[in-house]
């Protein structure tokens, strides 16, 4: 039995009224003033008489009447079983959102979350249906709209915590779409999570419908202690021709208690090379610098480990360090002038990250061997290398190499190799009138030009173009830039795994003064890096990020990826080679053709925000998503009950109690009148 307005039970104090009626009322009818009750009070008989209740039955009647009336005002109702509730309010479509982010690995959070989910399943009636959605950064529908409790429980039992970060938005949106497809009358979402504050920014633009009921179930631990390594930095130095790296690791303490004398160790290739101890103040961080070590090999695997706590995922930070290697660029020119590629060489001679290793050869002397181990080939106002080199260039591009073609007077391209050229080259066009032509349009969405997108990030309009070659692009080619008269200034074609960019004018000062402008150097660097598919070697990546493996291995062979958990995955050479990093640790990538070669490696770490276990008030999230306050929190059972007002309205027990109270009062009136006639003094 529950009550809608239990405060009315304060009125039970009025039960004293019948007692007072019994003891006082009849004797108070007439008050006689008397000089002194000195003698009256000495008579013991009256004391006993006035305090004795002679009609218990009458008293009980009066008390029962008042109690019944008060209970009626308290609006009682009977909380029924799940089946009855479902029958009363209709079947439910429940979406169970189970958080499996990395932070759920803290202590027993995930076990409790699974238990809460199973409780929800067990509270379902036969006509209810439930969908299991697990989520971290992304949401995944594990079992759709099933009323089979066994399957649901098995699905819940198979869920394990992931290494992913927490994001509530995708999960809630998926739940909304699931409920949108449901035909059942009642829609409910049960969100089981540790409610990390970092998972909700407030800008997710999630708004559940009026009829959807969201119940948060929190498994968070108050004042959780967590140590983590959010990042490491490297200081490189060259010593005796070898590169040495000094690792500095940050150690964060996200708790209200100081962590003192915590062990911090550095491992390289699985061997601990140095151990230190650190103390971190509450809610603060510190840094630990280790002694330098020599980078003997490429892609050396390392890890920094700190202390132990209930969330072990962020106690280790892995990384991969590689000696810096320059990008090899082959500049092919006509060879008739000594400094035909003067500007290109000067531009590529500047820069350290990456450094460019430039070699210049005349087109006639290019051999297929020269193309090996080159990242980019630049044809600087020259013809296609004759002979085998020309066809080798085609292979070079298809394997993943980059080709930049700067056109000029001497540029000649045989029709047989037209597939390599983005578009067809036309005759030169003079722009001698006025101050010449300019670059009027650049595709800033292109990776090569993205850095120039922001204001004051490169003024291409300052360069004058006095002559250019027309380019007629095919629909499959991408126009990267146009002159101010609308003619194509640069176009790109993808060929195999490689890229070809055709530039409509020269890269020296013969047709344009672009080479004399400040924007020239970054433009050349950006084009070469893009064509080389250069990506700064990241020492680590955060979990859930996606990498294009094709940049690592250039070749036609399939790629074999070995995940940190030991799973072997083969990526076909014909596919783009995208790899989603879902596990913590080090991924190894090899070419299927040469498994003995040293693999490329990718270190994957937890999202640093996931280490922050600060909790969000679940009611805030509910209010933000539903626009109304949370109905219940903490108890999954409460989530499946019919609203108390509705249950009370349907049962209307108060009506019967009120009638019973009035009948009791009438009976009391009749009995007391009869008694008062038969007795002189009550």
């Amino acid at each position: 039995m529950s009550f809608l307005a239990p405060l009315f039970f304060v009125g039970l104090a009025t039960l004293a009224i019948p007692v007072l009626v019994h003891l006082v009322q009849r004797e108070r009818k007439r008050v006689v003033e008397f000089p002194s009750l000195m003698f009256v009070q000495r008579i013991p008989y009256k004391s006993v008489r006035r305090r004795r209740i002679r009609h218990w039955f009458l008293l009980a009647l009066r008390a029962a009447a008042i109690a019944a009336i008060i209970a009626a005002f308290a609006r009682p109702f009977l909380p029924r079983g799940a089946g009855a509730i479902a029958a009363a309010g209709g079947s439910r479509e429940i979406v169970i959102l189970l958080d499996r982010s990395a932070s759920m690995g803290f202590g027993d959070h995930f076990e409790r979350a699974r238990a809460a989910a199973i409780d929800v399943v067990r509270s379902m009636s036969a006509s209810d249906k439930a969908t299991l959605v697990t989520f971290g950064r992304n949401a995944e529908e594990r079992l759709r709209s099933s009323s089979d409790r066994g399957r649901l429980e098995a699905a819940i039992g198979s869920v394990t915590p992931s290494a992913s970060a927490t994001r509530y938005g995708p999960a809630l949106k998926l739940a909304e779409s699931v409920l949108g497809r449901s035909t059942l009358p009642r829609h409910e979402i049960v969100l089981i999570s540790d409610f990390q504050k970092s998972g909700w920014s407030g800008a997710e633009d999630v708004r559940l419908g009026e009829q959807v009921r969201l119940t948060p179930v929190s498994v968070a631990t108050e004042r959780a202690i967590n140590l983590s390594v959010p990042q490491v930095t490297f200081a490189r130095a060259t010593f005796s021709g070898q590169e040495r790296v000094t690792v500095t690791a940050g150690v964060a303490n996200r708790s209200g208690e100081a962590a003192s004398d915590v062990p911090v160790s550095l491992e390289i290739e699985g061997h601990e090379i140095e151990g230190k101890r650190a103390s971190v103040a509450p809610n603060a961080s510190t840094s630990v610098t280790f002694a330098p070590f020599t980078l003997a090999e490429p892609t050396m695997r390392g890890a920094v480990k700190v202390g132990t706590d209930k969330l072990t995922a962020d106690n280790q930070f892995t990384f991969v360090v590689t000696p810096e290697t320059p990008l090899a660029v082959l500049v092919v020119d006509n060879g008739d002038q000594a400094d035909a590629s003067f500007y290109l060489k000067k531009a590529l001679g500047i820069g350290a990250s990456p450094a460019f290793q430039v070699e210049t050869v005349p087109a006639a002397r290019v051999s297929p061997a020269m193309l090996e181990k080159r990242s980019v080939v630049i044809l600087n106002d020259t013809m296609l290398p004759p002979g085998l080199a020309g066809s080798a260039l085609n292979d070079f591009v298809e394997r993943g190499g980059g080709l930049l073609i700067a056109t000029g007077d001497k540029t000649a391209w045989p029709a047989s190799e037209g597939s390599l050229l983005p578009g067809a080259l036309g005759a030169p066009v003079d722009r001698l009138s006025g101050r010449g032509g300019t670059l009027g349009y650049l595709d800033y969405s292109h990776p090569a030009f993205e850095v120039f997108k922001a204001p004051r990030s490169g003024d291409f309009s300052a360069a004058r173009v006095l002559r250019y070659r027309t380019i007629e692009v095919t629909p499959t080619d991408r126009v990267l830039a146009r002159f101010d008269d609308g003619a194509v200034a640069a176009a790109e074609r993808r060929l195999g795994n490689g890229r070809v960019v055709l530039f409509g004018t020269t890269l020296d000062d013969s047709w344009t003064d672009l080479a004399l402008k400040p924007v020239y150097l970054p433009l050349i660097h950006q084009l070469v890096k893009y064509l080389a598919q250069y990506e700064a070697a990241a020492a680590w990546r955060t979990v859930d990020s996606v990498v294009d493996v094709s940049a690592w291995l250039k070749g036609r062979a399939d790629r074999v990826v070995l995940t940190p958990s030991g799973e072997r995955r083969t990526l076909s050479a014909s596919e783009p080679g995208l790899l989603e990093l879902t596990e913590l640790g080090v991924y190894e990538i090899r070419s299927a053709a040469n498994t003995a070669a040293r693999p490329d490696r990718i270190a994957v770490n937890l999202d640093p925000a996931e280490s922050d276990l600060t909790t969000l008030d679940p009611t805030e999230l509910v209010a933000a998503v539903t626009g109304r306050a949370a109905v219940a929190s903490g108890a999954a059972d409460a989530a499946v009950e019919v609203p108390a007002e509705e249950a009370e309205r349907q049962q209307s027990l108060w009506w019967y109690l009120l009638i019973a109270g009035l009948l009791l009062l009438a009976a009391e009136l009749a009995i007391s009148n009869r008694l008062s006639r038969t007795e002189r003094f009550l």
């Binding site: 006082v24 004797e27 108070r28 009818k29 007439r30 008050v31 006689v32 003033e33 008397f34 000089p35 002194s36 009750l37 000195m38 003698f39 009256v40 009070q41 000495r42 008579i43 008989y45 009256k46 008489r49 006035r50 002189r680 003094f681």
Partner: protein, 301 residues
């Protein structure tokens, strides 16, 4: 209730209450009363010689003992045991319980009649008259004087029983005040423990005062002839008690009688005159009863 006594004109208190003037009441009662007596009891009258003392400037030269001067050649003045008639002071309890009446006059009115009558009698024999009214404290005080008869009557007429009373504190204060011996007339309903009452009165007696106690009670206080079960409220402290009179009456009467007997015996032990007065009885009858007994006592003494 009143029984006619031959030779006396008894006046019903309810008739007296209609007069509304204590002076007239006193005259009516006392004159009739004295006419009916063979011998008036004069109390406090004494002019016996006590001693000589040296003449000081301002002494009336008529009181110089010339005979002694002739013998000693010095001026001496005669001192008497009582220079004038005695002080007659009424101690009138005006506590709230005195306002009680079961139909006729209140105890307060009856006490006022009684005090007025005795004051009138004292005035006629040239005693000095004073009054102290009290409840839990002294309310008003008129010092004893031969000229204060009217003021005494006025004080009694004006007295209202409004506050709860208590004997001991005001009587202790009075004991400190009455340095001169005299006749003290205490009128009260004595709703207190007899021992406590006596303890309160004793200091007055120790000063050598002649103490006369009138215990004034309403007939209902003595007989408790109520019929219906009611809530009885104490006039003094407001306390209420449900009472079924039928079952209470016998024990109540017994307790009241024991109280009266206790007071009577305790006062007798201390040689204090005690008289129980019922407000239903005529006033002169009460006076007659008391003065007759007092006369008898004086003879015995």
């Amino acid at each position: 209730m009143s029984q006619p006594i031959p030779g006396a004109r008894f006046v019903d208190p309810q008739v007296l209450a209609r007069i509304g003037n204590l002076d007239l009441i006193a005259r009516a009662v006392v004159d009739g009363f004295i006419n009916g007596l063979h011998r008036a009891p004069f109390f406090g009258a004494s002019i016996d010689f006590a001693e000589h003392r040296g003449y000081v400037a301002g002494d009336d030269i008529r009181r110089v003992d010339w005979r002694l001067y002739a013998r000693t050649d010095r001026y001496y003045v005669k001192q008497y045991e009582a220079d004038t008639n005695t002080n007659f002071t009424i101690l009138f309890d005006i506590s709230r319980s005195m306002s009680f009446t079961s139909g006729g006059v209140t105890k307060l009115e009856y006490g006022a009649f009684l005090g007025a009558c005795l004051a009138y009698m004292a005035q006629r024999q040239r005693d000095r008259i004073g009054i102290v009214t009290f409840d839990s404290d002294i309310v008003s005080h008129v010092p004893a004087s031969a000229k204060h008869f009217n003021q005494v009557l006025h004080t009694m007429d004006r007295a209202k029983a409004e506050r709860p009373g208590h004997l001991s504190e005001p009587l202790h204060k009075m004991a400190e005040h009455f340095k001169r011996r005299g006749i003290l007339l205490l009128i009260s309903d004595f709703y207190d423990d007899p021992t406590a009452v006596l303890e309160a009165i004793k200091p007055l007696k120790f000063l050598g005062n002649d103490l006369i106690v009138f215990h004034v009670l309403d007939p209902q206080e003595i007989n408790f002839d109520y019929q219906e079960a009611s809530t009885f409220e104490d006039l003094e402290n407001g306390e209420q008690v449900p009472v079924v009179p039928d079952s209470f009456r016998q024990q109540y009467r017994q307790l009241v009688q024991e109280h009266i007997n206790a007071l009577r015996s305790r006062f007798s032990e201390q040689r204090i005159d005690y008289a129980l007065l019922n407000t239903a009885e005529p006033l002169d009858r009460a006076l007659f009863t008391y003065l007759s007994s007092r006369e008898r006592l004086i003879r015995v003494r």
